[in-house]
Subunit: 214 residues, 2 copies
Amino acid sequence: MRIGELARRTGVPVPTIKYYTREGLLPPGERTSPNQVSYADSHVRRLKLIRAMLEVGGMSVATVGEVLAQVDAPKRTVHGMLGIAQSAVSRTAVERGTAEDLERAERDAAVLVGRHGWAVKPENPGWAALVQLIVTYRDLDRDDLLALLDEYAAAAGRLAEAELATVARVPTVDGKVEGVVLGTVLGDAAMSALRRIAQEDASSRLAGPTTHSA
Amino acid sequence: MRIGELARRTGVPVPTIKYYTREGLLPPGERTSPNQVSYADSHVRRLKLIRAMLEVGGMSVATVGEVLAQVDAPKRTVHGMLGIAQSAVSRTAVERGTAEDLERAERDAAVLVGRHGWAVKPENPGWAALVQLIVTYRDLDRDDLLALLDEYAAAAGRLAEAELATVARVPTVDGKVEGVVLGTVLGDAAMSALRRIAQEDASSRLAGPTTHSA
């Protein structure tokens, strides 16, 4: 198809398609004559994936480029892809707390992770974030919120099993790799969205009808 | 205490404390003599709360200011505070899809929410995000990932009950309001962190030891 049809089918304007191509996010089309370039269905799919990462995942163009370079790498593995996608969507945790606070929080994080039977590498971006959260809850003397981490962990464990089982059922490596990227990028957004809805419902039941609109 | 001790106790530098005061995030200290201002324990706590929202929650100074104005409002309610905190941490969803896509996704979202017995207002930021996610999964033909939304919803429902029960146990309104803000801001970060860890564990078990380091 011509670039105009690619734009129509994806809703991405032609100048934006050219920009993504220049930035290396989208492979160039095939030049079929001196002034004609042809695009395939794979370009449609790639553009949809780019938009999902940018718009729903809130990632930068540079980060999307880094993830897609790995998606296209010949030596990619599904497990390796997970680490790359996780790092891409994770904000770097700001380091807070004294050395003593951090050590204590790391011990607590290790106990929590161990209680759920997980093996985790220290470079997992979730690990640093978890340690910083424990420091923060402690700093604010909110042991009650700290205790909720076990509930979050139980939920995260069940979800990870369901997510990985879903990826395992995809027959192609391409589909698995895309599933890991989307599951990581969109899964966080899905969980946040549903938490907001469930919290509003639980809170309005707790508040009762008289203060519901307050 | 003097501003120097406030800085020492919170780890926030003096110029930053002055900046937060100018921006209205931190109430000014009490002027006890022409060139001396005194700060209370409430300033220590407020500074810790500000840092948690900025650093762990990734919020802007302006957004933190808006949330704190509501925290300090005389007519605040715990349920109202939840809506404000939710809006503050939610990115605005980019609208995608045709009118038809959106209508279909809204119907699906309503069915999902109904299946979990939730009442939700259309202005809940989770609602727009959920509709956009459904449009995105459909656009990418990933019905397998769409099916996971029920698992996320079940987890979100259980967590909301646990979170609201924790807030309900706090004896003071100040403590409840702070709990709602922190639960919303830090809860998302906690869930993301633990998901990364649980996913790595589930993925490495699936990948098996030979490809574990790939």
